[in-house]
Amino acid sequence: MDFLFYMGDVFTPINFGLLLLGTIGGLILGATPGLSPTMAVALLIPFTFQLEPQQGLILLGAAYTSTVAGGAVSAILLKIPGAPANIATTLDGHTMATKGEGAKALQLSFLASAVGGLFGVFLLIFLTPVLAQWALAFGPSHLFWLAILGVTVIGTLDSSSVVKGLLSGCIGLWLATIGFDDIMGAQRFIFHPSVSGGINVIPALIGLFAIPQVITMFTKGRSSDDAEVISVKKHPIRLAFLEVFKRKAALTIGTLTGSIIGLIPGVGGQIAGLVAYDQSKKFSKESEKFGTGHSEGVIAAESANNAMVGPSLVPLLTLSIPGSPTAAVLLGGLLIHGIFPGPDLFMNYPQVAWTFIDSMLIGQILMCIFGLYIAGLAASVARIPHAVMAAIVLGLAVFGSYSVQNSMGDVYVMATLGLGMYFLERFGFSAAPLVLGLILGPIAEANFIQGSMIANATVGIGSYFFTGWLNWLLIVIVLASISYSVWMEVAQRRYTTKDDAVAKEEALS
């Protein structure tokens, strides 16, 4: 119960002020497309030079928590995920927003984030020693199977047919091979200097999601001068509370999946939201409603990506190994104050460590309060005329892509992918599977190569990838996931008929 003992430290005027600053700043940074949690934390580190270690960490912890949740704002209102973690949120969240339920979607997402986030931090508080061992259990072979599991999700994710989903996934996998490969350093498909470093996920994400939106908005603005104003329905917060807790299945699946995946070093938050979305879709009684603005989709995705925040710090705080890019940046922030994370962190620096964790707990609650306030403002976004909105989004897209690596090359990549995606969407392909392919490709490839190098030096590939309970557990889940997709395809025959295509076209425009 040490964490209660140090709770008071969070509420000293200066600490609490920093916590507020981190939370509000984090929400704003998170809502800006292209500013991922990793970047937000990295931007704040120089400011912590001047602060006490405890205060610096409060700022960083609060910013980490709220940027992850803030990404949902642009995902829902603009269909631009703030970070890979928010991709799944666009699927139902943005559909809700186009139906005028933007305020409701935002309220649900912040409430679900807070529930998931609190659960994740409590896991960090109570189960850290146990979880640290679990985080180490995932070697190259397990990460490979996990990535394959992600690939099996691709087909059923938000496309008009399984085949088209798989095709866009393949395009993503191919895009992932561009650049120097991670392990051997071989150059692949570098046909232009812009892609010599590979396709960075953030500009790709912005391009694939935002540019088709922008083009659609522009075309629409021309056809009708008085672009119809979507009326945003007011949605009382009380009803949002009821809704979140009524959807227990989605909330539980999202929270648990997020916590477990958050623990696994190197995979982390990027796919937590998508896997949780897919799982709750498969378990839901109303699975056919997913993708049409269903509240369960938003709840599962957002509870998962915030639940991953706490567990993702377990390997860092106990083993001094950063499990995610954000954790690596936080490690830099700790070291700069002379604090070495490790098993004795909580013995040597209890005040710093516990206050940091407490600030994440309080940060989740503050994030939820401010988030609900922002949700009330969602109406004003929808009142902006399409042409103006399109210009704003385009500006943000260029700014966001450029700022990731200060490179114009990323802006070209963003624009090219976006333009291509606009046409692919006309044919019933969608962006989410493509991005998933782009994220999973390197994980699957690098771990396969590493695994087979180890296997060749020791036991051989067959027994390396196919022995051990964890490998088999993952293989069984992969097989189950594939059979489910096949069964769904056969049972529902989800071919795109001409009518479907027309309906989709109308929904898009």
């Binding site: 580190i45 392990i183 010599s196 083993l319 922030g333 180890i454």
Partner: protein
């Protein structure tokens, strides 16, 4: 009116000053950018931020240095940009990592070599060390080499990637001990390679002294040897060098970090930077922050760095010739 004319005259003079290529006395007149070819939060980025934090002081450059990250492909993206596109006007500095960029230029496929850059000063030297899990049966490099002799090609050990310091150290060990080893490059850099050792996925690993020191303090690994010409008295006084354990291995794999500018930067600016930048590294606040972060420092002047670059070029060409 007089004041106005005087003001205009000063402004004109200032403009003429910036336009004139010869007069570099007033350099720097605006903030300077420093490119780091690794991501924010990594060891190079983290150290670059610390050693440049006093640049704005009156006794230093008088202008702040802003860090800009251009990560990708093990540093190749950033250095390619620095060699081909960065402006050689003294307002664009870069951080170098030796032996990484030299080894990459020998391997080929990049647009830079030691000829593309002008070193300014060196701030850090992070030697590679050999680590094994805390419960490993190996207690010395001799145990490791004996195992490798009994199982040729069967000793798996991790490192941060190909053509980086860890890989060079691995090649040197293979050559000096006359054994075949299975070097497993990790796609997540030094942190990923360390994780593989702690989790027992590999039997050992080459890693940075600073990271290995922390992991040993945490009770996760044992450090068996240092790939350097002398022991590290500050952090690891009890760990013998490879040379002491009978393997002829020098400091070719030590990760040197420092500041450079693109070729073509005006000589007066290079001279001024070469004079001031090392004094920035000697600043007490910088030193204490670096020590707190477990980052060993090695301050070298421009002439010493030029010599070191040339020496590395020679050793690495020889070592990588067999690949």
């Amino acid at each position: 009116m007089k004041k106005w004319i005087a003001g205009a005259a000063i402004a004109l003079a200032a403009m003429a000053g910036t336009a004139h290529a010869d007069g570099h006395e007033s350099y720097p007149e605006r903030p300077i950018m420093m490119m780091v070819s690794y991501g924010a939060g990594g060891a190079t980025d983290f150290q670059a931020r610390i050693v440049t934090m006093t640049a704005g002081n009156e006794d230093a450059l008088g202008m702040p240095i802003a860090i800009v990250n251009r990560p990708g492909a093990g540093g190749r993206v950033g250095w390619n940009w620095f060699a081909t596109e960065a402006e050689a006007d003294g307002y664009t500095l870069g951080a170098y990592n030796i032996p990484h960029f030299v080894a990459q230029s020998i391997e080929g496929g990049v647009e830079y070599s030691t000829e593309s850059f002008e070193p300014i000063a060196n701030w850090g030297a992070d030697p590679a060390v050999f680590v094994v899990g805390a419960d490993s049966e190996f207690n010395s490099m001799e145990d490791v080499v004996n195992y490798a002799k009994e199982n040729p090609g069967g000793l798996t050990f991790s490192g941060a990637g190909l053509f980086v310091g860890h890989h060079i150290a691995a090649l040197q060990l293979e050559k000096a001990a006359g054994v075949k080893l299975a070097y497993i490059p990790n796609n997540q850099g030094g942190a990923g390679a360390m994780r593989a050792v702690i989790a027992g996925e590999v039997l050992g690993g080459v890693n940075n002294l600073s990271d290995a020191f922390r992991a040993q303090e945490a009770g996760n690994v044992k450090i068996l040897g240092v790939f350097d010409v002398a022991r590290n008295e500050e952090f690891l006084p009890d760990v013998p060098t490879m040379m002491e354990q009978g393997y002829d291995i020098d400091n070719a794999s030590v990760n040197f970090r420092g500041v450079m500018v693109p070729k073509g930067t005006p000589q007066p600016i290079i001279d001024k930077l070469a004079e001031i930048v090392p004094t920035m590294f000697e600043n007490g606040r910088v030193q204490s922050r670096m020590a707190a972060g477990g980052s060993p420092m090695a301050i070298m002047t421009r002439d010493e760095v030029l010599e070191m670059w040339a020496a590395r070029q020679e050793t690495l060409e020889e070592l990588l010739a067999g690949l």
